[in-house]
């Protein structure tokens, strides 16, 4: 009998530096599986962000560029414009994409750049030690909101998927989660669709993924999963927000 379950070729053997219970690893695996299944590893270029995933290129086995904090969508634009045949994706955290890099992502999406963004929403700045992010939940304590996020002072968390869906340019925008197996299966489908739209040269595609950061949330991995489901899921509603086909209204 042959192997029926193995590591994707697009993923390396190296042990990751991610904390126990962190969902970055799960998302890496989904991206790698999709790239393998679509058979595009030999023409894929990933863009690493500045954040916990800055070393993502150590875990993937294809060409990679490393961007400055927030600039991955501009870098992807540069590659995709001059080499439209390459398959390009950015992998970005919420500080990277929704704070310092908001301009780059909005304009790339609005130009309809034909690359894919995997957007990891873990409600904090992970790498720098758990500071408040634009996606931090109301009253959530972080190292720079020690009394909880005060929405009177800093506003409500940004819903990136909805924000980008509001642009008139056709795109595929979806929000998924990877905190439990049932969500992981759907997340993979969305990531695959996102890459397929790119391969078909259809549109910009972005999949926001609700994720955990047990380390900076000050929780055990199990508590973190529960908190994400109880607090993040009701606010960050899962489902496809926009697609180049007529929108399928599938909230779950």
């Amino acid at each position: 009998m042959g192997k029926i379950f193995c590591k994707p070729v697009s993923l390396s053997d190296q042990a990751t530096h991610y904390c126990p219970g962190c969902t970055h690893g799960v998302i890496h695996r989904l991206v790698a599986e999709v790239i393998d299944e679509l058979g595009v590893r030999g023409r894929t270029v990933g863009i690493a962000p500045v954040g916990c995933a800055v070393l993502a290129y150590n875990y993937f086995t294809f060409d990679f560029q490393e961007a400055a904090h927030g600039r991955a969508p501009a870098m992807a634009t540069g590659i995709k414009r001059v080499r439209p045949d390459l398959i390009v994706f950015t992998y970005q955290g919420d500080g990277d994409l929704a704070s310092i890099g908001m301009s780059e992502i909005i304009h790339a999406a609005n130009r309809g750049e034909k690359f894919t963004t995997v957007f990891v929403n873990n409600a904090v700045y992970g790498m720098t030690g758990g500071q408040m992010a634009p996606t931090t939940m109301p009253n959530q304590r972080t190292t720079t909101s020690p009394f909880g996020r005060n929405v009177e002072e800093v506003g409500m968390p940004i819903k990136v998927a909805e924000l980008i869906s509001a642009l008139e340019t056709p795109a595929f925008i979806s929000r998924q989660s990877v905190i439990k197996p049932k969500y992981v299966v759907r997340a993979k489908k969305a990531i695959k669709r996102a890459f397929q739209y790119q391969i078909e040269k259809r549109c910009f595609s972005l999949v926001e993924v609700v994720s955990t950061c047990p380390t900076n949330w000050g929780m055990t991995p199990v508590e973190a999963v529960q908190w994400a489901e109880d607090v993040m899921h009701p606010y960050y509603q899962l489902g496809d927000k926009k697609s180049p086909d007529p929108i399928k209204d599938k909230e779950d």
């Binding site: 590893r41 030999g42 023409r43 894929t44 270029v45 863009i47 690493a48 800055v54 070393l55 290129y57 086995t61 294809f62 060409d63 990679f64 560029q65 490393e66 961007a67 400055a68 600039r71 501009a74 870098m75 992807a76 634009t77 540069g78 590659i79 995709k80 414009r81 001059v82 080499r83 045949d85 390459l86 301009s103 780059e104 304009h107």
Partner: protein, 356 residues
Amino acid sequence: MGKILMKGNEAIGEAAIRAGCLNYFAYPITPQSEVAEYLARRMPEAGGVFLQGESEVAVSYMIFGASGCGERAFTTSSSPGISLMAEGMSYIAGGECPAVFVNIMRGGPGLGGILPSQADYLQATKGAGHGDYRMLVLAPASVQEAVEMVMTAFPLAEKYRNPVMILGDGLIGQMMEPVEFPDHLKTEPSNKDDWATNGMDTRKSDRRNLVKSLYLDPELLNSHNLKLKAKYDRMKREEIRYETYHTESDYRVLIVSYGTMSRVCRTAIDELRSQRLDVAMVRPKTVFPFPEQAVLVASEKESCEQVISIEMSMGQMVEDVERSVRGKRQVHWFGKCGGEVPTPEEVIDAIKALVK
């Protein structure tokens, strides 16, 4: 092809195309927006990529992405825009990619003005962004020279896998002069399969390429920086370019001046020599690396009493000139930095005041 009359900014755009660079990303800013306006029409015609980015910050990463995957790319901007691109320049140098940046300088600091200046000398030559990196900086004094420098900038950027800057004052971009374009450069970025992220399918081996500037291990970062330093040292050995004017005969004053300012100095030197006051000039064509040796030798001439740096900035080049002269002569400064180019008469007065 014969000579044609062209505005500097347009000639710069055309020169890039003829250098085989078919990828241009930019954000509008006076006094160089004509490059983008010219290329918005011309690039599609040449089968190239033209894209107006959302900011100079984004543009510098569009350039980085494009050059990182092995394609020639360039941008043009002016002082405030170059400040925003400085972050990208540091990353490009750290990631060892070729790229060409053109700065058509205007007055500063802040918004400053929109008229010609040379106020970004230190920014260009000492490193605009953070970290230990340098750029090769070419400073044209005419539209023709701007064309030639743009065309050599691409192979130079590829030779060193490092950003190259064309540092022109606003007049270089705005004035119309006759130009003759050298033949098309047919070369491709060489060895790109060794480093560019052009997709593993393009390579014979299963090796993947990585463009990055992060080295968390102190020993690795140190050796990365030593490797970069070796490139900058090589530039100092191989790329210094300059021109001398009347340095063969005796002179009492040596001028060091570059760009449009050096042309005014030439006129002033001719006039002073006709009045029997002998003056000579060294004109750096590369301001990094700076022609130290040429300035030193010229200043050591027995007859030379004084050295003066004449520039459209508040003496930014003086420290390079002083460094070159090694304390053997007094180094003075004359210049203006409001947007007006000093006249030959003003230069003459400044020189006469030195030797009175």
